[in-house]
Amino acid sequence: MARHATIEELLTLYLKGSISRRRFAARLAMLGLSPPAVATLLAACRRAEEGTPAPIVGTPPSGTAVTGATPSPAPSGAAKRGGTIKWADYEPNTLNPYIASEAIARSVIALVNRGLVGVNPNGEAFPVLVTEIPSRENGGLSDDGKVVTWRLKPGLKWSDGQPLTSDDIKFTWEAVRHPESTATQTQGFDLIERIETPDELTAVVYYKEFWTPWVTQFALGILPRHGTGDPSQMGSWKWNRTVNPTNGPFVLEEWQAADHMTFARNEYWHEEGKPYLDRILYPITTELEVQRQMLRTGENDMHHWLADEYVDEVKSWPNVTVKEGPSPYWYRVQFNLTDQGNLNKPHPILGDVRVRRALGLALDRQKILAHWKKVEFMSSMFRGPFACDLPPYEYNPEKAKTLLEEAGWVDRDRDGIREAHGALYAPDGTKLSLRLSSYTGWNREDEQVVMVELWKAIGVEAKIQNYEPTVLYGTWGEGSPARRGDFDILWWDYELGLDPQVKAEDFYASWRIPSEQNPGGFNCTRVNDPEIDEWLRIAGSSTDIEVRRDAYCKIAKKIQEEIVNEWVFGVGYAFSASSARVKGWEMNEAYTPFAIFGWDAENWYIAE
């Protein structure tokens, strides 16, 4: 596209058929914005129409533009400088923020590299390397939203003393969007047309079209132009292992593969007096049991993933502090609507919506998740400003049985499992027996065994058939059974992230149905509904929060009442622990990858 298209134009183009559905989808997939940001944006737009300039997008909750704000309230006078702590954990595979894909890598990267902004536990962006979040009010955002001006804090330096300039922002973009870069965190970068650097502190980002999550565009990190290398060789940069130079509160001193890492204070960190800690020692420890024991004996100060079973035990240790917060993972049961992924052929058993609803009604979610320490139940994937007013999912096995009878599933041979007798798609005599799949190695069986029992109680047989994570999450070409549609029922989780648009498309859009041409598509249950597609387009192309919420809630309602491709559960809580002497840390996991344990490492300190 030669000229920049606004969302409205894009939509018009698509509706007229001038651009392909795939291209449109790809563009829309990039659209999205943090819920609070959208709210402010919307308010601003309205007021702008009325002629009053107003703050826009990403302004911190206080409503005032904060300069040099810290991620969490700065510790009171108790905070003191000095000291070394230990953090025993797994080994990251890289320290390049745009290659890293695992939580542990993001966590360690938070120590050494920071982006222009961060995201706090409420899902709000706050400035890190920039003076303020760009807005129309402060002139940082153009009226059409396509030009974003980032203003760096003056005097920023890399850990080698070289100045950190707007050119490094430009370089980050050049490196990440390079087709050979092997970067895996690339969304939005190819929508940037150019970046201008009128002076060392100012980077003006010109988007080809409005991209709603622009505020987190450079949130993952900034790469230095000096000390890294050719973008086409990004995968093999030495820098990925040394992060020298870098801009985070700490620098990497040493990384002995599989053994340990050590971090020291970055003397060039821009906040006066921070970070408080002198050093962080990171003994790489592959056994959770040993990590915990080390916490108990004082050989470990930070414990990122505290297993649910251990929460009470660890809380009882006198020298340990435990904190909690929502995890980023949203769990649900998904029903395959198709037979082996064939869009023209309904699933022989699950093709009947009454069966799907009955299966859902039989699930007592309290019981299924009873072993989780803490859960937030959700009635749809839409939360925050987009939360919909939906009837709660009910647990009613009697109703489930009635539905199954209605649908022609009766247990005539009295073996405890129903068979088809006049069912919609299944030939008579077919057993009501289904595969229940998930990934191995992460205790998903704990929930599955309860589901199996609950379904057994209504005469449904479910057989657990799990796959390794790399198999289940693989691409079409790698033969992932989820993507190929070779499953009956899935039980798995997904990161909800900041903005619902991308995820909603992943779950419900017909153009996200995995196929050979779309090997990474995530609409594995094959929701293929023109109305939902339309609502997704409307939500994805609107900056009006009311319009978006309205569209999302129509989707949620239709999913819940008519499609029933999923039965929704909730988000579990994550627990972390530290030595009681380490203070100043907060949980911030809900909005990964922009927020993660370690996000406030400059505030960690030792209280004696």
Binding site: Q293, A307, E309, Y310, D446, V449, V450
Partner: protein, 308 residues
């Protein structure tokens, strides 16, 4: 460590225990090993308990979320696990799985090994050279690598025979441990085929297959039985190891290895969950090893124990 089972030296067989009186001879040698008798006792108890597991009042997969992580008590002799399931029930049924895998794996190895080794030994020449190079090739793979890769490969095929990948794991272990059997059978056949009764059988017009299966294999049986017995123990250890890594029997189907894998997540909180399955593996393997050792004494005339 997993290479052990593959490294047993081929032992040629002399036809000492032949026909009548063989069982008595074997028994006479066998019973001189008191520990082997204890082993037989332990193994019988474990096997019977596994077979009659259904008499035990608890179901291994029935979940009771209100009674998670109960310590051992009169009601639950080995406590309950993370889903409130009775651990004793899981161990009884897990014993079935572990024993079945052990025996099936060894049977697979015996069939493959006897076929390859037998053909190589009987026909000799090019067939021998080719098959023995194949055996060398198989031995040149790091066995743990082969085990893990094959378990990935076969697990996802979801063989229909048993649930939880029992058949797959047995096949995987069998496919990685037939080499010693092949060498053993080949070595025996090389000796036996020169003997008069084989020439006689051939003269009577018996087919090659018949000669091999009916005449030669029984005469190679001694060392094979020993090898197979120890192989069962080995297969049980391998299964538990793979399941411990999460590559073996898939939960909720219990096996001693995956019960241990599960228990390890709460090792220091609920240590008994780890201790019982480990003990069961230990007892079974040690019992089989004692039996195998005594059998070697009784069946394998060339094996040296100093008791001659």
């Amino acid at each position: 460590m997993l290479d052990r089972a593959l490294e047993q030296q081929p032992v040629p067989l002399a036809a000492r225990h032949r026909q009548a009186g063989m069982l008595q001879l074997v028994w006479r040698d066998f019973r001189r090993h008191p520990m082997a008798l204890v082993g037989v006792g332990i193994l019988s108890v474990i096997t019977l308990m596994s077979i009659f597991a259904f008499l035990y009042p608890y179901d291994p997969e029935s979940v009771d979320q209100l009674n998670r992580f109960q310590p051992p008590s009169f009601q639950h002799p080995m406590g309950t696990d993370r889903s409130g399931r009775d651990v004793m029930a899981r161990i009884l049924y897990g014993g079935r799985v572990s024993l079945v895998v052990g025996i099936a794996a060894m049977a697979t190895a015996l069939v493959i090994g006897a076929a390859i080794g037998g053909i190589a030994g009987y026909y000799g020449r090019i067939l021998d050279a080719v098959l023995m190079r194949l055996t060398d090739l198989a031995l040149s793979f790091p066995s743990l690598f082969l085990l893990i890769m094959l378990s990935f490969l076969l697990r996802e095929t979801h063989l229909p025979l048993f649930q939880g990948g029992i058949a797959s794991i047995a096949l995987v272990i069998g496919l990685t441990s037939w080499m010693s059997v092949a060498r053993l059978v080949r070595a025996s056949f090389l000796v036996i085929k020169e003997q008069e009764f084989i020439t006689a059988a051939r003269a009577c017009g018996a087919s090659d297959a018949r000669i091999m299966v009916r005449h030669m294999l029984p005469n190679a049986a001694g060392p094979l039985i020993v090898n197979a017995t120890l192989g069962v123990a080995w297969a049980i250890l391998i299964e538990s190891g793979l399941s411990f890594l999460g590559f073996g029997i898939q939960p909720p189907t219990p096996s001693w290895g995956n019960i241990l894998n599960d228990a390890q997540k709460t090792l220091s909180l609920y240590p008994w969950l780890s201790i019982f399955p480990g003990l069961m593996i230990f007892l079974t393997v040690i019992a089989i090893n004692y039996i195998g050792d005594a059998l070697r004494d009784a069946l394998d005339p060339y094996h040296v124990t100093g008791r001659r």
